[in-house]
């Protein structure tokens, strides 16, 4: 059964244990950083930072709200990275994890075209710019753990129950139950429908727009857009062939008739 993670933004205290646990489990190096006025170093996801908690201090009049939002690969149900990759380096596994085969399965197809990075609506995959033989890197949903039935490293480090790992369908039901039973929640499960649904889902007590989420997004998956067009390919292939054949036949016949007419037409006398 596909797994998922429910992120309850209202429960995060910004301790960033998840960030450290991710690096620790995946053996990612610490990168040099400089002072950040927001305190949320490192400043963005990159090839060695697969998850990051962004701090959102929201000022409304003299009231402050402060929320801490973990970001990582959303593990789309129909991943854009997978569809954009002509070498099939990405795959959505049955567990729910979207993994990169060159590193996870040691199947080196990737040619470094980075179409996946352009395709991803969440700007998640990152390139190892500083390596001679670079890979594309991103959160792998701790595929090595979850396939053994163990929760991802980040979830195991979460102190407050902000992150919950489980069967995706059960988590989705729980998310609805939580937002329905408490008026403080925004009535939306982010990831239920966004871009066709994702394995990681968010609920929040602060509007998602204020937390850096893209909210005005399609409920259709990115691959489905290309599918909308590409699905006509066989029809076009067959149809266009038929039309061309018909045209060819028509033209050919026309030419033949013309030729015959030319041949047999009475020659007019010059006047």
């Amino acid at each position: 059964m596909p797994k998922g993670v429910l992120v309850d933004v209202s429960r995060c205290i910004g301790c960033r244990s998840c960030q450290v646990a991710c690096k620790s489990w995946n053996d990612l190096p610490a990168t040099p950083t400089v002072f950040s006025n927001n305190w949320d170093n490192p400043p963005s996801l990159n090839a060695t930072n697969w998850t990051r908690v962004g701090y959102h201090l929201i000022e409304k009049g003299d009231q402050l709200k402060w929320r801490f939002v973990k970001t990582q690969c959303m593990h789309c149900e129909e991943p854009a990275c997978e569809s954009a990759c002509f070498t099939h380096s990405f795959v959505k596994t049955e567990s729910g994890a979207v993994i990169y085969k060159p590193t996870e399965l040691n199947q080196d197809y990737c040619v470094g075209c980075r179409y996946c990075m352009i395709a991803c609506p969440f700007s998640v995959p990152k390139f190892e710019w500083d390596k001679a033989f670079p890979f594309v890197r991103k959160c792998k949903f701790c595929y090595d753990r979850i396939k053994e039935g163990v929760e991802p490293a980040c979830v195991s480090a979460c102190l407050t129950g902000c992150l919950k790992f489980g069967e995706k369908e059960e988590l989705l039901a729980e998310a609805h139950q939580r937002i329905d039973s408490n008026p403080n929640y925004i009535k939306r499960v982010y990831g239920e429908k966004e871009y066709g649904g994702t394995s990681w889902m968010y609920i929040s007590d602060v509007p998602f727009e204020d937390l850096g989420f893209k909210t005005n997004v399609s409920e259709k998956s990115i691959p489905s857009y290309s599918w909308d067009i590409l699905k006509w390919t066989p029809g076009i292939f067959v149809g266009w062939g038929a039309i061309l054949t018909a045209l060819y036949t028509y033209n050919k016949r026309r030419a033949e008739v013309h030729h015959e007419e030319e041949m047999y037409a009475p020659v007019q006398d010059e006047e």
Binding site: A30, N37, L64, W66
Partner: protein
């Protein structure tokens, strides 16, 4: 803490003041979060809008150092609006006790203030109860003007909302909302949990701040019951254990007083002076005698006063951290052991403390890394050639590299097993202490002054074939045993004052005891090693999870969870109650549940007489009376009163007494202070922690992952101050105080905002202190700016409110 972390789930209301658990005690937030999910309401009182405040229902900003006005405002509000718990106040506190007619209070000063040799101190004789022979006089109607209730009511009546707002800078409507919400916990069936930490204690009147928190909780009937309590979350993971083990200069183990040669020349005199006739401390002779038996074994006999004469004694002087550095400065102290401590970063006025270290002839540092104290001789600006101190650095094993116990804020004494071997030459602290003592004893073997205490000390911890001392032998000595056959004791009730029992830490009695009635083989281990997860009542009580001192009691003062008739205040959360014939509870009763002689249950009427067994009068104190043995006498008054921090931007708006008249101050290098309302240092600073860096940062600033998250030292200022000074986020700035100045980055966030005090805005600067010049992440030492002044009761420095200036670097 009176309660424990798991119990937080039972709380209906939280008042979190001077604490930021989301950064400093993240695991506590797990339990607070569980309560919140069940509907609990949270109030956070802090000068900064913290990560904890982000989860609060009401955030109350206040000026650093004005906790007493805030809390007194709350008490006054509860009394004026009749929101307190009457029956609790009348029966479980000294509200009805009559105070001497000589007691008085006027314009910020209590009766008895005297001046001797230019120093002020109180003669507290007039703060006593009225007595008739041995009997304390009471007025159960609470009408007598000399009763504690009336005195307190009058005392706090000056703290109305307008006055409080004028001092704290908190908007009046925020105060009203917060007071109204928290006073809901004054209903008998509702629990309010008051959490505080160093934001309350680190002031020149820190002990009185904690007294004010106690008064709030007693008034609202929140002490002794599930979901309630006074919960000071300890600042380090084992600081509770360190205090229990006698690491405070004024206590030996188990909070027994350190002998003072000016008061207790002989053992007889010690016992006479420190043993009250009533209350549980009346057992002091049993505890102290057993302690001496643990230390001196067979040598300790009744005839020689159990070798009391061998104990080192103070001479009526304080020997706190600050006094020791003043002693170094004056040349009185020649050598320093800095064991798992980093005062060059942690000490008040660290700039001058580290200079005082230069006067030491030798220093031994024991730590997991070479910290700023061990490296003080090569600190920026110092010339190693000029420093004569000989420094020894002993590499210590980290917590995961050694075995032993750690005691947390819940008083859980938890056994920890070693997970990895220490690297290189690093050794456990116990190994180092063991070899150190053996080396000292070897030196003394050839003679010296007063060799008896060294040569005769019990030190039999060797285990054949093992490099490390035998932990089990030490554990049993701490736990207590029968001298004749070594039987391990299950309770301190079995300790004797005749020398037949030995016990290193009386409050730990039972922690290494194996319950003979236990049937589960996994739980048939010393209590401290148990991991039982059964919670029979659903009240988050896990009696078989490790051992909580005292006596495996999880909530102390638990008689107060029931009314005087023995019925629970909250029938939905019955914790301890009288079923008509006996007491029923999942916990260990903290009162005389059974008659000591007949072993018959004591009925509710009797136990309600003394619900607080550790005080001599059996009651909790709104007013701390003088004349009671073993009741801590407050140095600056029987009740708190608002004083300004020693360095303050304003004149005290409450009274003419500007600051604590008996606050501890020092001379010479350590006397540098900014004047009241200083133009040179116009902003109020407070020191803070972030989750990424623990304490002085010795461990965390050497962890690449944590340095990545929080790489540089900074100071947080409000956008308004930044605008005024032309400072942008990330600019290099200089923060200066009357002691020193430091360079750091400017952090500009609206989490601090100016507060209007006495009609003028006061800007607040929040300054982390976890950086130093060693480690992967280097930065200026925040504590170089903090003042060298302290609370007179416990000598805690005033880290949390002082004056600074800021300019662009």
């Amino acid at each position: 803490m009176t309660n424990h972390f798991e119990d937080y789930v039972n709380s209906d209301y939280f008042l979190i003041i001077g604490a930021n658990p989301a950064e400093a005690h993240p695991m506590a937030m797990r339990h607070i979060g569980k309560a919140k999910a069940k509907g609990a309401k949270i109030i956070v009182v802090d000068p900064r809008f913290t990560k904890t405040a982000a989860h609060a229902d009401i955030y109350v900003p206040l000026r650093p150092g004005t906790d007493i006005p805030f809390l007194y405002g709350l008490i006054n509000y509860a009394i004026q609006n009749d929101l307190y718990q009457h029956e609790y106040v009348l029966n479980y506190t000294n509200a009805s006790y009559l105070i001497s007619p000589d007691y008085s209070f006027a314009d910020g000063v209590f009766s008895g203030l005297e001046e001797k040799d230019g120093k002020l101190s109180y003669n507290n004789k007039s703060w006593s109860y009225q007595t008739d022979g041995e009997d304390i006089q009471k007025d159960p109607t609470l009408q007598d003007p000399q009763c504690v209730w009336q005195i307190m009511k009058k005392h706090v009546s000056r703290y109305d909302i307008k006055t409080v707002s004028n001092v704290t800078g908190t908007p009046e409507d925020t105060l009203k909302k917060a007071y109204a919400l928290y006073c809901k916990s004054g209903k008998p069936e509702v629990s309010g949990n008051l959490i505080y930490v160093l934001g309350i204690t680190q002031h020149s009147y820190g002990s009185q701040n904690t007294r004010a928190t106690c008064m709030v909780q007693l008034l609202l009937g929140n002490v002794g019951l599930p979901g309630g309590g006074l919960n000071p979350q300890r600042g380090q993971s084992n600081v509770q254990g360190a205090c229990d083990m006698g690491m405070l200069w004024n206590n030996v183990t188990g909070y027994l007083k350190v002998p003072d040669a000016t008061k207790h020349a002989t053992y007889e005199e010690y016992l006479k002076a420190e043993t009250p006739k009533t209350g549980y401390w009346s057992n002091t002779p049993k505890f102290m005698t057993s302690t001496l038996k643990a230390w001196y074994g067979e040598k300790a006999t009744k005839e020689n006063g159990f070798c009391y004469d061998w104990l080192p004694k103070t001479e009526g002087k304080s020997h706190s951290h600050m006094d020791s550095y003043a002693g170094l400065e004056e040349g009185e102290i020649k050598g320093v052991f800095c064991w798992a401590e980093n005062p060059s970063v942690a000490g008040p006025d660290a700039y001058h403390e580290v200079k005082a270290l230069e006067k030491a002839e030798w220093m031994v540092c024991v730590d997991v890394f070479e910290n700023e104290t061990a490296a003080f001789w090569k600190r920026p600006g110092a010339n190693p050639a000029d420093i004569k101190t000989e420094v020894f650095l002993l590499p210590a094993a980290h917590i995961y590299e050694k075995e032993g116990t750690r005691t947390n804020s819940s008083r859980d004494v938890q056994w920890r097993w070693k997970s990895v071997e220490p690297p290189g030459q690093a050794k456990s602290d116990l190994w180092i202490a063991d070899r150190l003592f053996k080396a000292i004893r070897k030196e003394y073997a050839s003679g010296g002054r007063f060799t008896d205490p060294i040569m005769n000390l019990t030190w039999n911890y060797d285990k054949p074939g093992q490099d490390e001392p035998d932990l089990e032998k030490i554990a049993i000595e701490l736990n207590g045993f029968k001298v004749e056959d070594g039987t391990v004791l299950g309770t301190f009730a079995d300790l004797k004052d005749d020398g037949s029992t030995a016990c290193g830490v009386w409050i730990y009695a039972g922690y290494y005891y194996i319950d003979p009635k236990e049937t589960d083989p996994l739980l048939k281990v010393p209590a401290t090693k148990r991991h039982g997860t059964e919670d029979k009542t659903g009240l988050a009580i896990y009696p078989k999870w490790t051992f909580a001192w005292p006596l495996n009691r999880r909530i102390v003062y638990n008689r107060c969870s029931s009314n005087p008739a023995g019925q629970p205040w909250n029938p939905k959360r019955p914790y301890i109650f009288w079923d008509g014939a006996k007491w029923v509870t999942p916990d260990v009763p903290d009162f005389g549940a059974k008659d000591a002689k007949t072993k018959e249950p004591n009925p509710p009427e009797k136990t309600a007489q003394a619900p607080f067994i550790m005080t001599a009068d059996g009651q909790a104190h709104f007013f701390v009376p003088s004349g009671l043995i073993s009741t801590s006498q407050m140095k600056e008054g029987p009740m708190p009163e608002h004083y300004e921090p020693v360095e303050s931007p304003v004149k005290n708006p409450i009274s003419k007494q500007q600051s604590n008249p008996v606050a501890k101050k020092w001379k010479g290098e350590f006397s540098k202070l900014a004047e009241v309302g200083s133009k040179d240092f116009p902003y109020v600073a407070t020191t803070v922690h972030y989750i990424e860096h623990y304490q002085t940062g010795v461990r965390t600033r050497n962890s690449p992952y944590l340095v990545e998250l929080m790489p540089e030292q900074f100071a947080t200022i409000s956008p308004s101050l930044a605008k005024q000074l032309g400072i942008k986020p990330g600019d290099d700035i200089i923060v200066s105080s009357a002691r020193a100045e430091i360079n750091c980055k400017a952090n500009v966030l609206p989490i601090v905002r100016p507060l209007v005090v006495n009609g003028s805005p006061v800007e607040i600067v929040s300054l982390p202190w976890s950086w130093g010049f060693m480690g992967l992440s280097k930065g200026a030492i925040g504590n170089e700016l903090t003042p060298f002044v302290a609370c007179p009761n416990v000598t805690v420095p005033e880290y949390k409110a002082f004056l600074v200036n800021i300019r662009k670097a």
